[in-house]
Symmetry: C2
Subunit: 338 residues, 2 copies
């Protein structure tokens, strides 16, 4: 692994330094070649950096700033007033080549808007998208996009998401000719919005892409497709619904463990279901975290706004992986193929 510096917006989201700083330390511990620039209020950051071993501290740089972007701000308002906010400064560090990627748990719309302005979409990309990986019941993973960056989409947008998702799956999941499905409310070709059916026609014509047809919500976890493409609204609804279902099931497991007399049964059961349990955890945003903004000239990872320490550390590791893999460059090269 080569040396790498990431810029972190440590103030964004509902979480703030009490989560983002311990997560940063965890990420540094797990990745000895990683350095971090933390953008945020040094008064809030410093208490979490006491008694940290020096080799770790040497790889941290604090860029003090007090302004932040609120989650409730409209995108246009947030962008105009984003100067000197932790998110803006973190993205600027990537723009100026000081860092090779950025992680933020802040306002998704503002992150996408600022990324488009500061980092620019890749040449030929009309709309960058939000992409994430979801686990499948057979222990594999699928890639899903768009997850909320583009509420209204055209057939051409979905077609480009399919291309980007396919390249992302090739490199991130190590696949050849990944199977692409379009999220729809039926598998028959007459089903769904017109723009989805038009996207299906475009995808069917492309021999370079491995399009397999429509995928319904009930098969998202079944690994029917390696890449699941949808507009941002439906994709976000589907992902959050999955996360909610996983969280609720896990809370059943956790709830039972409080009954001490039942603990042996609980642990026995948990052992039996270990694999399944691990997979469920992977849908759980507290444990498994980090959607990527794809289609930009640099790596930007959006963490859940309510991530825990492990989840934010996972988002940092994800950004490091993508930056080392040079995923934006691979997508740009791949675009030429289609």
């Amino acid at each position: 692994m080569n040396r790498l510096t990431l810029a972190l917006d440590v103030m964004g989201g509902d979480i703030g330094p009490r989560i983002t700083i311990p997560a940063s330390l965890l990420a540094l511990e797990n990745d000895p070649m990683l350095s971090l620039i933390l953008f945020g209020d040094s008064q809030q950051i410093s208490p979490f950096l006491e008694n940290i071993p020096k080799p770790c501290l040497n790889r941290i740089q604090i860029h003090h700033c007090t302004r932040t972007i609120d989650n409730n701000q409209g995108i246009s308002y947030a962008l105009r007033r984003s100067k000197n906010t932790s998110m803006h400064l973190a993205l600027e560090a990537v723009q100026h080549g000081v860092a090779q990627g950025c992680v933020s748990a802040g306002n998704t719309g503002a992150l996408m808007g600022l990324s488009k302005i500061l980092l620019q979409p890749l040449k030929g990309i009309a709309r960058p998208a939000l992409v994430s990986m979801i686990p499948t019941v057979d222990g594999e993973k699928s890639v899903m996009l768009d997850l909320g960056a583009n509420l209204e989409c055209s057939a051409e947008n979905l077609y480009q998401f399919a291309i980007m998702g396919s390249i992302f799956a090739e490199h991130r999941l190590n696949l050849v000719y990944p199977r692409i499905g379009l999220l729809n409310i039926g598998v028959e070709e007459i089903k769904g919005h017109q723009f989805i059916r038009d996207a299906a026609n475009l995808l069917e014509k492309s021999t370079a892409l491995n399009y397999i047809g429509f995928v319904e919500g009930d098969l998202l976890l079944n690994g029917k497709a390696d890449v699941i493409v949808s507009d941002g609204f439906s994709g976000n609804v589907a992902l959050k619904t999955l996360e909610g279902a996983a969280k609720n099931v896990l809370s059943l497991f956790k709830g039972q463990s409080k009954h001490y007399c039942l603990k042996p049964v609980f642990w026995g059961m948990r052992y039996l279901f270990k694999t399944s349990y691990q997979r469920l955890k992977h849908i759980n945003p507290d444990e498994y975290n980090g959607a990527s903004l794809i289609g930009l000239s640099a790596v930007v990872v959006k963490s859940h706004g309510s991530a825990n320490v492990n989840a934010f550390a996972h988002a940092i590791a994800d950004a490091a992986f993508q930056a080392r893999q040079k995923l934006p460059e691979k997508i740009l090269a791949g675009l030429a193929r289609y």
Copy 2:
């Protein structure tokens, strides 16, 4: 309970008489005041009616027809060619007052289209919707609509869905002033499609409706709202995603039971999680079934196209309950209040 006759399209969906006829017999067994008219191919139906006790057989009437509507047909094509199909004839029986409600597992679009033509929407209703109940983690239920009848919706459509859903929840879940939420991809007022935000404005102005704000996909099972309102596309994606997650978790349980040596542990665990397991089963469309077409002058229940015997029987019982409760009349009366 009063006497009631339902018209069943026993040919629709992927299932056919091998499921719908045993399900009909189960429904008749459970409801001694119920009679059924079965619309379908008598040659396919008769073998399933051998050795049936006479009191049960007396409450069955077969209306022979061989034509059916295919699942893959476009709505307009299906409607024009629907004459003498099992679905058309079953709805006609309701139109002519021979039956008080209809159940079909067939093509959802055709069922909605034919119902609108033959049974008419209630006065003042622009768009009938597809409504279903989903279980919550605390053992209660929520009502969700639209689930796929209306892909494109306006703010006014969502507002009417909220009214219908609220009246449905009042009578079906026995609630006073049910809490209404709009499915969205964030809880902040700037989130989501414009038509959803406009619907929120309409709902906020109504004091007769108990509007509580936006609900995200991850809280669908948490009983945050008694009525969850969305456009048909997103609603269908969310419901199917929930069903898929529930099915996958249940298959983990079922899969383990094949290991005979582990059976005692499995059963012990199943006992511990019985309540939770039952709730999960309720999201599973194989066990819990029946979406209703709401906003029509009569009761129409749409069964899953791949329902099992219990599920189709559940859809029949649901239609009987709604017809006895005179839900369409209650919705019509309730509409005047808003």
